[in-house]
């Protein structure tokens, strides 16, 4: 029997229920906030370029069946430590782009060691990985504070005295990256290009790739066909915005939106990496371990080693993600910037429709867009609706925690249910 349209629609709704709910909430909150589309879009693009990399760094542990890796906060700490080291030495050649690259390079060995240690710990807490990764994050935060509040300046000497507190021991609460490191990845903002130009380039590339596939294979799947149609629509829309004046002012203003191209490239590369790694031997091992550790072990996979590798990759990526995040902001809150990173990244991924056992690039990107839309507009919506922006702020923290709790709970329930059967 051929599936009817209604049953297909039903299936689509059930499959994407989380995303749909959040799209509706975001739209309602946006309308209630009475902010302009331009304001929302400009804020949102900033946040997408900052946060996507961190959210994408969560995917591999999910694949390996370790759930949501709350310990990316440890990677974030490694990234911050690397940035502190680079700011401390301020090597003449390594400014701007070079400085960021150097920080990324320094972060790798640190993050790798922390990742291996975390992985070993999580191998001892099988079945409770998520709570353990959360607590190990808190624990590491204590050690981080100990190092940068009491050891730096005492045990380690610091060259750049501007970093230190007046007493000479411990780092300042906030570190401002000099002109050179701020936006270093995008050459101090030089490669910030109009957003719709990027969209045009991306859609042209997608169309060309699919057309190329068509000439090779002589046929396309429905998904690929719809990909071409959507890309063409985006291309036409972007071109109309950039080169004509036919839209109302609200939409015409969007012309001046910009997006950091190099950060965007990094995000795209990570998406590509996540897609390619599934095809490799290692990626197959991740999936085998994720599906069933016993069967994986029987078929000759070293389960513990694979799990350690998954966490290590995630930790290194998180370190890079935090560096990208901080260089765009330009100021680092030494003891605060990393604390909420895991909660917000995990919440964003789940809002995008991911579950404990399945997460894709699409989930990550859609999640960042939806979660941060809500994040931007909810204080305004709270102010307009209740006369108190605080209500909106509490609402968004509630959403962050609530979506994590609900999603983990539903997953556990489902697992219990299927096990009983």
């Amino acid at each position: 029997m051929k599936p009817t349209v209604t049953s297909q629609l039903k299936k689509f709704l059930i499959k994407n229920i989380v995303v749909i709910v959040f799209v509706v909430i975001s739209i309602l909150a946006f309308i209630a906030s009475k902010q302009s589309l331009y304001f929302l879009m400009s804020q949102l693009l900033e946040r997408i370029s900052r946060n996507s990399f961190l959210v994408l760094s969560l995917l591999i542990p999910v694949m390996a069946g370790m759930g949501l890796n709350f310990s990316i906060i440890i990677g974030a700490m490694a990234g911050q430590a690397a940035l502190i080291i680079v700011t401390n030495y301020q090597i003449a050649f390594w400014n701007g782009f070079g400085g960021i690259m150097l920080a990324m390079l320094i972060a790798v060995p640190m993050a790798a060691i922390f990742g291996i240690l975390t992985g070993m710990l999580l191998n001892k807490t099988k079945g409770q990985e998520m709570i353990a990764s959360m607590i190990v994050g808190f624990f590491a935060n204590g050690i981080y504070q100990f190092i940068f509040l009491f050891a730096v300046g005492g045990l380690f000497t610091v060259r750049n005295k501007d970093l230190l507190l007046t007493s000479g021991v411990g780092l300042r609460n906030s570190i401002t990256f000099t002109e050179t490191l701020k936006f270093g990845l995008d050459f101090g903002g030089v490669t910030k290009v109009p957003f719709f130009n990027i969209l045009m380039v991306v859609s042209v590339i997608i169309i060309l790739v699919y057309l190329g596939l068509f000439f090779i294979k002589k046929k396309l799947t429905v998904k690929q066909k719809s990909g071409i149609v959507v890309s063409a629509a985006v291309l036409v829309f972007s071109a109309l915005i950039m080169y004509t004046n036919i839209f109302p002012l609200q939409i015409r203003m969007l012309k001046s939106l910009t997006f950091p191209a190099v950060s965007g490239l990094f995000i795209a590369l990570l998406c590509g990496f996540n897609m390619i790694i599934i095809k490799t031997k290692l990626g197959q091992d991740f999936r085998a371990v994720g599906q069933n550790q016993h069967i994986a072990a029987v078929s000759g996979i070293n389960v513990n080693r694979v799990r350690i590798i998954a966490i290590t990759i995630s930790t290194i990526l998180a370190a890079w993600g935090q560096i990208i995040f901080l260089q765009e902001i330009g100021v680092m809150n030494t003891f605060g910037s990393h604390v909420q990173i895991a909660q917000f990244s995990v919440a964003a991924l789940l809002v995008g429709g991911a579950t404990v056992s399945k997460a894709t690039n699409n989930n990550a990107i859609v999640g960042v867009i939806l979660f941060h839309t809500l994040f931007i507009v909810s204080p305004f919506a709270g102010k307009e609706l209740f006369g108190d922006p605080q209500i909106g702020e509490f609402f968004r923290t509630f959403v962050a925690y609530g979506v994590i709790g609900l999603s983990l709970g539903l997953y556990a329930w489902k697992t219990l249910f299927t096990n009983k059967k």
């Binding site: 710990l121 001892k124 807490t125 099988k126 079945g127 409770q128 998520m130 709570i131 353990a132 959360m134 607590i135 190990v136 808190f138 624990f139 935060n141 204590g142 050690i143 504070q145 100990f146 509040l149 009491f150 507190l165 007493s167 021991v169 411990g170 550790q293 016993h294 209740f386 006369g387 108190d388 605080q390 209500i391 509490f394 609402f395 923290t397 509630f398 962050a400 925690y401 609530g402 994590i404 709790g405 983990l408 709970g409 997953y411 556990a412 329930w413 697992t415 219990l416």
Partner: protein, 376 residues
Amino acid sequence: MNKFLKNMTSGANLPRFIISSFFLLVCVMAVIVKIPFTTLMSDTLVRFAMNGVLVLAMVPSIQSGLGPNFALPIGIIAGLVGSVVSFEFGIAGFGGLWLAIAISIPLALIFGYLYGQMLNKVKGSELIVSTYTGFSIVSLMSIGWILMPLKHPEMTWPLGKGLRNIILLDNSFGKMLNDFFSWKYVRVAETGNLITFFNRTDKYISDLYPNNAAVVEFTIPTGLLIFFFLFCFVVFLFNRSKLGMEMRAAGDNPKFALASGINVDKMRVLGATLSTVIASIGIVVFSQSYGYLQLYQAPLFMAFPAIAAILIGGASTQKAKIFHVIIGTFLFQGLLTMSLPVANKLIVEGNLSEVLRMIIQNGVILYALTKVGGQE
């Protein structure tokens, strides 16, 4: 003897061994750097008893097989709601305290029952799910504190909406238990004499000796201690009762319990409910000793020190006794109280003891989690 030593330093007892050694070390250092030891011991005693009931809330949760109650904030919220409603009526003294507890208990019963029902749906993932349930309730209730229709001027902002972040309990039930039948040894600065006060408030003493002419050197918070130990005894009695035995059997070995006709799911709900009720009373006791109610984000992380305390006492995620509560709370709170002035003497800048707390607290919880494993 050797066997005894080995037993004391292995498994769930290891944290207790390490923390007690550390505690002794800090005590010795306090004497060396000449910090008045009596005041520290007095503070330790107060903090031990005021945190004790919150730690006690872990016992039914662990015994019924739910693991440490990471959703302690649920009970705390119930207790805080009871406290602010009692505050609104403006009854000073013990009346206010009992009213706060009386309002908290039915709320906690409802919350705890629902929480227990939820935990039965997520067997195997109780710890992480309950953590985020607690977090969500605290953020949701933050909106609740803003919208709550209470009018007492000492509780609300003079301008703007909602309850204050911190509510002073001086004119309500603050320090009621602490001062009940308490002994206070007061050093008079001028003469250097030590005077004993019985059953008197701090305010009474400071009115008698204005401008800090006398310092309270040692306090025995009799009422608080009695309340805590009485509560421990009640939980102990419950453990010995038929229902308590059944609950512990369900936690110890669910399959065996089920085979012997115990409704395991029901026992788990019982454990969650009891834990929530005790937590709600615990926060009232805590707040009256602290002298303030802390609303909004304050309860967010309150579960973690309580969990660390019982684990330090020698409990694991599967086994807990009243003894673990008493010894663990004393060691953990004692260490925190002692280490603050000692650390400040050694390193002037920064808050070393706060960093120490983070490392110890989370290290102990992590250690306990590594012992959970072995399910796969």
